[in-house]
Symmetry: C2
Subunit: 197 residues, 2 copies
DNA sequence: CCACGCATGTAATAGGTTACATGATTTA
DNA sequence: TAAATCATGTAACCTATTACATGCGTGG
């Protein structure tokens, strides 16, 4: 249901399903992901419900495009969603779940590698976000008043992505340090608390 | 699919569906959420697949309980999942999505309240996590070597929850400060970049 | 001429939520 | 005796993923 709302938000300017997928993969990747096939299904549903209308547009390069625009009804639905209280407590963070149970592998070296890989991914991501920030919101770093309301909100959202990534990277570093100490050959009395086996 | 894996992880000790729901609502809430009905369905599926077996246990208080335990096959499946690379790029953060589009409401005061409400929720959560930390992992704050492998991994996961919440709270504060400046009556030349209307 | 990017879609399946249905025991 | 907690489950529905199917135009 939220994908539908996000599509309505993205369609403040008319776009095709394909355009929307690119928008997801660029601007909106840090808070939502969607497959192209799901986007097409959502668009069809929204049009059936009268929240969108579409027209087929012949393109100079490539096949015809179905371009969707939002209707008054769609705008009302978007506004309703935006007035909803923030949804909460439905986190699904697969890699933390894996880590939580990873003791059953009895291989701290593997745990360390897992966290290192996470750190690499987080760094990759934060670089993308930071590039967007300097390229798109450079001016606001000193002074917000030069931003439109739209860009102001988008920049707030981007900051959430950046600050979350920073925290996750710090967490990885803290974790790796602890794992290293625990796993180091210096700790001679390792049988002390070791359970099982 | 991941819920199935998490249930297998949680079932290192036998438990009923109801027990598992409580485990979710307490220990595992910061990385995964699940409804009771979905837990029952997952348990049935896992038993059909031979990853779990169950027996009915007559309880002194309340109705009979169906207690599940993990099989060798289940343990193999759990280990396979734990060797998978961390899943990535499937974030779904509804409240950031809302904020991202909230400019269409043309009401910065509402944006501010939204972020304040988020902050309150985050604070509520972090207090829970911190209580778990001091109550359960107090000893490790100075010295990890006193922790079992199991507790060590669980504490790493909890730290991720705490550090993420800290970052989100800081973000809320940064955002509220910026919104206040932008929304203050001091800013006389607000027509400068305002678009639409 | 082939691979790649553009572009749209369907079908099968899996995963998850909400509502519904049931009933025992304990505590106020 | 009424409400809360313990306890298990089904049915209807919705959402999302994966795989499949198709085909144009451009650049190498």
């Amino acid at each position: 249901m939220s994908l539908d709302n996000i599509l309505l938000g993205l369609l403040s300017r008319p776009a095709s399903g394909y355009d929307l997928k690119t928008a997801f993969d660029h601007g909106s990747r840090y808070f939502w992901a969607a497959e192209l096939s799901q986007i097409y299904l959502s668009l069809q549903r929204l049009e059936r419900e009268g929240c969108l209308r579409s027209k087929s547009v012949t393109s100079s390069r490539g096949p015809d495009r179905r371009v969707y625009s939002i209707t008054a009804r769609g705008r009302r639905r978007l506004a309703t969603w935006l007035m909803d209280p923030p949804p909460f407590g439905q986190e699904r963070i697969g890699y933390i779940a894996q880590l939580y149970f990873m003791d059953v592998l009895k291989d701290l070296e593997r745990t360390r590698e897992f966290v290192c890989e996470l750190r690499r991914k987080f760094l990759e991501r934060i670089r993308i976000y930071q590039r967007i920030e300097t390229e798109t919101y450079e001016s606001s770093l000193a002074d917000d008043s030069s931003l439109s309301d739209e860009d102001f909100h988008r920049h707030l959202a981007l900051r959430a992505g950046i600050m979350t990534m920073e925290a996750r990277i710090r967490w990885c570093e803290e974790a790796v340090a602890r794992i290293r100490v625990r796993n180091s050959p210096t700790r001679a009395r390792r049988a002390g608390q070791k359970k099982g086996e």
